[in-house]
């Protein structure tokens, strides 16, 4: 009989649930809140053991590109270099070397390695819309909104498909504000001359 230690999601109290099947119902003793527990084989799997790489015994054997004294066990699916067990990184279903991973991170090539993205379209829209409440600062924020919209319009904004209408709206709003400023300045200039 295995018992699963868990924390109640409702009251935070700790409890223990008897695992009779892969999916069991449980009730907290403190607050009586029900919970459903689904467990998977990874729960019973021990901690992963590290790999050290096999030493090269015969000089004719292929060695790792990064560790010449270690035996090559796999080829990098990205650059084709021979890799030992230490340098072999599983990426998705493929084997790649650390340098290819580093290159993918620095060049923003892989979606899997990305942890966040910035919504430049929201920033442009906020720069165009929110300062309208303060009126004066639109003189500075409207050009900034247009700059952000133009500068980042081709940048990928999300891991999911995302439309670019916010950029267009930001440019339209900022352009209207700039036109308003031009009109206001012209009006004061003309009325001053008169």
């Amino acid at each position: 009989m295995r018992t699963f230690i868990l924390q109640c999601g409702n009251c935070g109290g700790l409890g223990a649930a008897r695992l009779t099947d892969a999916s069991v119902e449980w009730k907290c003793r403190s607050c009586a809140a029900p919970a459903r527990i689904d467990v998977f084989p990874a729960l019973l799997r021990g901690p992963a053991t590290g790999r050290s790489g096999e030493k090269l015994l015969v000089p004719e054997e292929s060695s790792c590109y990064y560790h010449p004294d270690k035996k090559a066990v796999v080829v990098c699916d990205s650059c084709g270099r021979f890799l030992c067990a230490v340098c072999d990184l599983e990426f998705g279903r493929r084997h790649v070397c650390p340098r290819c991973i580093e290159s993918a991170v620095s060049k923003d090539k892989s979606q899997r390695l990305r942890l966040s993205r910035i919504y430049y379209d929201e920033i442009a829209l906020a720069l165009a819309a929110i300062p309208m409440l303060f009126f004066w600062i639109t003189l500075f924020t409207a050009p900034a909104a247009i700059y952000v919209a133009v500068r980042y319009s081709r940048r990928r904004l999300s891991i999911l498909p995302r439309r670019k209408w916010r950029f267009l709206l930001a440019i339209a709003l900022a352009a209207l504000q700039l036109m308003g400023w031009i009109l206001a300045v012209s009006y004061f200039f003309v009325s001053g001359i008169e």
Binding site: R29, I37, F40, S78, S158, I159
Partner: protein
């Protein structure tokens, strides 16, 4: 090679943390080829966490009482709004139709929210366990959506890992074996609290000198002075300066609030800083209302004249005057001055106490409510199952 384009499929789970009141992020779950993506959409940024099917140890969905609490709050708010609506109707001698309109507007919105909250179904909290982490999946905040999502995710995880059978789990075995997700990294004899649980013990405090607070209260005093100056002198240049000053005040207050988190500043001084933020927000909102009131009054007077002459830029030449403006000036002047003076006095007291007792500069500790309420980890070597049959319990 690595620049693969992953296509995600949206899962039914989506939600917010704490109804989005404190955390503006919207959480969603998306299905990838070999992992599930927990996406948080913030105001200007999205962040991801990926959970590979091979690594998931357990998913626990606990039903919570959040829906009931929220419904209770909304019901009270609705009743209070209804009372307010009736009072307004009596005070202004409104007819039945107007009373109904005010009532619907004030009490109807919380009622609609209550109905919406009820229709979404019971709330829940979902935790996903892997060998090295315990993650709260904020996207799975409603039971109905959580169950629909698990119905999709469960078979995919089982396809990647296989299925745990009662035989493997040792259901027939007599000897109890405790398993706990997310503790493989720690020795089993001394289990560490899970990452999701608050760390037990007192929180260390850092020493805060109060320079930001001094700047904050100084700027607040300056803000009060400019409000007073409005009575005697109004000009476009001054409006520009006022706006800049207000923005500077907000920035400094936010910095001060950030600095005072887990600091040794007295609670009273920290509260005054929060009061400063409230004053600044009130200043903005009331200022807007006062300006609108004066603007519409002038517009109304102009329209009532036999030959109305509307200048398209009349708002720029607007002289703020009248009862609304006077009320705003008096209120804001008093609020700015009182909060700034109280804040400066408390800061002075704090610094004087520091000068008297330099030992206070050593960061003390404060036991947080969360840490105090955190229960000690139970003796887990022979745990008693809560869902065990009656005879074995």
């Amino acid at each position: 090679m690595l620049d693969e384009d992953i296509t995600y499929t949206r899962l039914p789970a989506r939600g917010r943390r704490g109804f989005g009141l404190l955390d503006p992020g919207r959480y969603e779950l998306h299905l990838g080829p070999d992992h599930v993506l927990h996406l948080c959409r913030g105001l200007f940024k999205e962040t991801y966490k990926r959970f590979y099917f091979d690594d998931v140890q357990a998913v626990v969905v606990s039903r919570t009482s959040t829906r009931g609490s929220m419904n209770l709050f909304l019901a009270v708010l609705s009743l209070a709004s209804a009372f307010l609506a009736v009072t307004v109707s009596i005070a202004f001698s409104l007819d039945v139709l107007s009373t109904a309109a005010v009532l619907a507007l004030l009490a109807g919105i919380p009622l609609l929210l209550l109905a919406w909250n009820t229709a979404l179904g019971p709330t829940c909290r979902c935790r996903l366990y892997t060998a090295v982490q315990t993650e709260d999946l904020a996207a799975m905040s409603r039971m109905r959506r959580a169950e629909a999502t698990l119905a999709i995710l469960g078979p995919l995880i089982e396809a990647a890992q296989g299925r745990l059978t009662p035989e493997v789990l040792g259901a027939d075995s007599e000897e109890p074996i405790a398993v706990e997700a997310s503790t493989h990294a720690a020795p089993l004899t001394a289990p560490a609290p899970r990452t999701a649980a608050p760390a037990a013990g007192p929180t260390p405090l850092h020493h805060e000198h109060g320079a930001y607070h001094a700047a904050c209260f100084g700027l607040l005093l300056a803000g009060g002075a400019t409000i007073l100056l409005d009575v005697f002198w109004q000009h476009h240049v001054k409006d520009l300066m006022d706006t800049s000053l207000w923005l500077a005040e907000v920035i400094v207050v936010v910095l001060a609030l950030r600095r005072q988190q887990n600091s040794d500043l007295p609670r009273g001084l920290q509260n005054v800083t929060w009061a400063s933020l409230i004053v600044l927000i009130a200043d903005f909102v009331l200022g807007m209302f006062a300006m609108m009131f004066v603007m519409f009054s002038k517009l109304e007077a102009e329209m009532a004249s036999p030959e109305p002459q509307l200048d398209p830029f009349f708002a720029l030449d607007l002289t703020l005057e009248g009862p609304a403006f006077e009320l705003y000036t008096a209120l804001m002047l008093a609020a700015h001055t009182v909060v700034a003076v109280v804040g400066l006095l408390r800061l002075r007291e704090f610094r004087a106490a520091l000068a008297r007792d330099p030992g206070r500069r050593q960061a003390p500790t404060r036991t947080t409510a969360a840490a105090a309420s955190d229960p000690p980890f139970p003796d887990w070597t022979a745990p008693e199952a809560d869902n065990a049959p009656e005879d074995s319990a």
